[in-house]
């Protein structure tokens, strides 16, 4: 009994220590933002590898998700004779929910895992210590630009996802299922609200970008510096990011649209 309590206590302490280290790292990362102003090239390189290189998977997935939404939405709506509202259904689901969430999940799998592996390998091959010894702060120089790139890219990637999703929905709904072209767009235009829908979606994806980048960088930086340690850390990044995105999405949705 006492034994089990002690074990529980140890697990609790190690989780708290983990969270503590994560927060310390985050503060340290944020402390380096000033350096980025002096060296914008560091950020631009990362915007490319974190953001631009994720565009393909985001575009393809967005298109397919939009096409499926249109198919599913059409059959449900047609039961109420409301097929002409298809544009609203597709756009609202994407902008409010699926755009930010699915883009974040894909981001965690594509860019997050790559970030963890990169930082973990730099640690394992002593490149981070090497920078320390050259009197260069590896957190500010290596982690901060990657974090910022993630936070900036995420809302843009989510917007890309939603935009292509709407195009996919348009192609299926109007092109294949015969929904009226004008109704598709005009209903969307009148029912989608800038504040209620679009701003909230952007806030969500900003939060997700923050969380996913933070988790990915922390896992890499905290990884056991061996090949096994790095591979475990990469897996943890994807699992933790996905759970965090889904959990936080519920809370944010309740706060934004629940009232």
């Amino acid at each position: 009994m006492l034994e089990q309590l002690a074990r529980l206590g140890r697990v609790g302490i190690s989780i708290l220590a983990h969270i503590g280290r994560g927060n310390i790292l985050l503060f340290h990362i944020l402390g380096g933002i000033g350096d980025i102003v002096v060296r914008p090239r560091l950020l631009i390189q990362q915007l490319y590898s974190v953001g631009v290189l994720s565009m393909l998977i985001i575009s393809v997935s967005g298109t397919f998700v939009g096409m499926v939404l249109a198919l599913q939405g059409y059959y449900t709506l047609s039961q109420f004779g409301a097929e002409q509202s298809l544009g609203v259904v597709v756009a609202a689901s994407l902008v409010r929910e699926l755009g930010p969430v699915v883009a974040a999940l894909l981001f965690a799998g594509r860019a997050g895992s790559a970030l963890t592996a990169e930082i973990g390998l730099m640690k394992a091959t002593e490149q981070l210590s090497g920078l320390e010894m050259m009197a260069v702060d590896p957190i500010r120089r290596i982690l901060t630009p990657r974090f910022l790139a993630g936070v900036i890219s995420m809302p843009l990637l989510a917007a890309l996802f939603s935009a292509l999703g709407i195009m996919g929905g348009y192609f299926v709904g109007v092109g294949l299922l015969g929904v009226d072209d004008g109704a598709f767009w005009s209903q969307m235009q009148s029912k989608i609200d800038l504040h209620e829908d679009i701003y909230n979606g952007v806030i969500k994806s900003f939060v997700f970008g923050w969380i996913c980048s933070w988790i990915a960088l922390f896992q890499g930086y905290d990884a056991v510096p061996t090949s096994e340690g790095v591979s475990r850390a990469t897996t943890r990044t994807v699992v933790h990011s996905s759970l965090a995105v889904l959990g936080i999405d519920f809370i944010l949705t309740a706060l934004m649209f629940g009232g």
Binding site: T125, E132, M133, M134
Partner: protein
């Protein structure tokens, strides 16, 4: 501030623990200016850890480390970084940045700290690469280098800012005989040419005794012997003798503690 006869690195009563385990438990070491001092001991005794303590990457639980008269672990981050500019370190793996070329690796510390025009940096990089015999490899990526070449590039990078001391972590391990010879000469030449202070951490007895001016042997968290190489080779102290002459039998057992062999072979 500090006189020339003071040791460059002065370690007193150093204690460092990993969890329950004492890696160092009361270690005193002096590194004389301008000399090559070797710190030897079997794998896992904490030689790499010692270098990380000297460079302030790790913090000890007790004792002091002074480098050039400054207590490393009481410096502000800024002061520590300023001091590190004057300390080079050659990592066991080389620790080159894998995503930039040999040239850019050597240029990196100069670009960060030297505030020189690009043409000047280029000249300095060429000189440093020439010193390690790899000027021709400047456009290669680190992945295209052999282990020995990578370590020489790392050496060029470590001396880029003309430091007052260099720490070598196992420089001889995993080198073929030719690059080994080159490296030994290089370390000696660098030390003598630029009044550098060198610390070599190694378990390779032969190469180390060949090059070192003074040797410390550590084991089980303590300095168990120290002296010039000749004296160490002919030491009567049983442990030192065993380690320096590479014998399996002696105070340090070759076998990890185990039950009798018959028991393991014949037992259930």
């Amino acid at each position: 501030m500090t006189s020339d006869t003071e040791p460059l690195v002065k370690i007193r009563g150093l204690r460092f623990f990993r969890g329950e385990r004492a890696i160092f438990d009361g270690v005193d070491i002096d590194i004389t200016r301008g000399s090559i001092t070797a710190i030897m001991g079997p794998s896992g005794t904490g030689k790499t850890t010692l270098l990380k303590l000297i460079s302030g990457q790790l913090r000890p639980q007790g004792g002091t480390i002074e480098v050039n008269g400054q207590n490393i672990h009481q410096l502000s981050r800024r002061a520590l970084y300023r001091l590190r500019i004057r300390m080079g370190m050659l990592f066991q793996s080389g620790a080159l940045l894998t995503d930039v070329s040999v040239f850019d690796n050597v240029a990196y510390p100069l670009q960060e700290h030297a505030h020189l025009p690009p043409s000047m940096i280029r000249k300095l990089v060429m000189l440093k690469l020439e010193a390690v015999g790899l000027r021709g490899a400047r456009d290669l990526m680190p992945s295209a280098l052999s282990g020995g070449m990578a370590r020489r590039v790392a050496l060029a990078r470590a001396i880029a800012l003309d430091p007052m001391m260099i720490m070598y972590d196992e420089p001889f391990t995993g080198q073929d005989p030719i690059s080994l010879g080159v490296l030994v000469q290089l370390i000696r030449a660098l030390n003598d040419a630029s009044r550098l202070t060198s610390i070599i951490v190694s378990h390779d007895v032969q190469e180390t005794t060949e090059i070192a001016d003074y040797i410390y042997v550590i084991s089980d968290g303590r300095v168990i012997d120290h002296g010039p190489p000749d004296a160490m080779m002919h030491s009567d102290a049983p442990w030192t003798g065993q380690f320096m002459r590479g014998l399996a039998n002696g105070p340090v057992p070759f076998h990890y503690p185990a039950p009798g062999l018959e028991q393991d072979l014949l037992g259930a």
